[in-house]
Symmetry: C2
Subunit: 294 residues, 2 copies
Amino acid sequence: MDKKEAQVMEWTTVVAQKVIALVELTKKVLIVYAHQSSASFSAAAKDAAVEVLTAQGCTVEVSDLYAMNFKATATAEDIKGDVKNAENFRYLEETRLAFEEGKLSDDITKEQSKLTEADLVIFQFPMYWFSVPAIMKGWIDRVLTSGFAFSKEKRYSQGVFKDKKAMLSFTTGSLESMFSSTGINGDMNVTLWPLQNGILHYCGFQVVAPQVFWAPSCATPEARSCMLEGWRTRLQGLLEEKPLSFIALDCFDDKAFQLKPDVHKEHDSKEFGLTVGIHLGKPLPPHSQMKAGC
Amino acid sequence: MDKKEAQVMEWTTVVAQKVIALVELTKKVLIVYAHQSSASFSAAAKDAAVEVLTAQGCTVEVSDLYAMNFKATATAEDIKGDVKNAENFRYLEETRLAFEEGKLSDDITKEQSKLTEADLVIFQFPMYWFSVPAIMKGWIDRVLTSGFAFSKEKRYSQGVFKDKKAMLSFTTGSLESMFSSTGINGDMNVTLWPLQNGILHYCGFQVVAPQVFWAPSCATPEARSCMLEGWRTRLQGLLEEKPLSFIALDCFDDKAFQLKPDVHKEHDSKEFGLTVGIHLGKPLPPHSQMKAGC
């Protein structure tokens, strides 16, 4: 090898190393998005996330559920070939088996691959009836297959996705005051518990505080722009945000899954419950489903 | 008219009156049912409800969502003909208009007719991810149209369906201990709040205590029979059960929808919050989403 060849070799190695480093550094983001119209506020919020995160060097993938005509209902068609027990079809068991045997339908495995790749998942949607729209619930019901997204051993703080982050980003029809502990719809922290604890944290995700766009349809164009600007600013540091607090799995016994007596005792003198759901009969910890460090 | 004719006339009148009285007395029940298999525990629970309520003289209608291949996703196809704003399609507004103009799709209007007729609605389902399966969320998102099921004035205790009752009847995958305020999944009362307050009570329904079948898939055949027997017994008196407690709409002001100062003050000295969501920073009222009179 002459000097010139050696030089080229060296440069090539350096470039290759940099490419590898860049790939490793590049965070992957999956946006699961549910709105029918590309002119909606939800679409603008999704677009802002794509733009800001891409500019930061992230690879951003969007699952646009309505555009994909994503199948929402959990049926035997989600399994390729024969099911194990057609007479007494049980979706949870059948899809766990199908996952193990590589027999889940292609639309499910495609979403599972995106999820496996992702470091952060953002669910962007308009709140429908205190929850996600049915098409997004369908994504949750069908993609988060037993065996893939959780098992009896791997859930909550020991969950399959414990090295990933996830968050809800949504619009409401109601004003913020209505979703308080003295407002007509009740505390938003309560409404978010089944979604953030029961789905996201259940699968192990570190749950980043939700982005709530309060009633954009009632707001002026200036106020809507302001909401989006706030979201763009937040997106700059989103990947470094600390997640919400939940209770570690080993705080519970492994039979009845009750809080261990020593953990319970340790919190006896505390003013607030541990979380919204695991409240021990005490007042709920304020803002714990809305802000990190609460 | 001779004596014989008069006699016939009298009998006819009596029979007609009895028929009218019977029709008026006959309660109508709608069961919105979501399970893929007729051999499931959920199917058995649904069948028990049909049988016991029919035997009581009720007219029972079942919407078997999977069998109907019920469309779960909220799209522009739910509206017959042109939508008002195709570029910026907003489901809530478009379906409200379509309802007013009689342009909602036939599958939606059919369910709305059943709902209008019903005195009691039972939602029978296996709990998926701390909530209803997507196909049932789709029924909720699509059938409970703005204008039909609620308006700004007609909601909560003044809701459209305030003379009807509704209840959740569902199976869980988890044991009861896991869904407590010291259990790993947290208090079931919290998990039920978005469904029972945010959907059922929002539309005005008097919410009857839920029927929870704890982990039938983990139970022995004897224990499952016992659960069904308990349900059959409960069904005998179901129509006379007192509903769960919620807060009357006029306890809130009509601008920010905050609890009025006098109502708030009245509860200052009380040990517990008013409801799970409107908890005033106090401990949650125990069992309030699970039992009437709590």
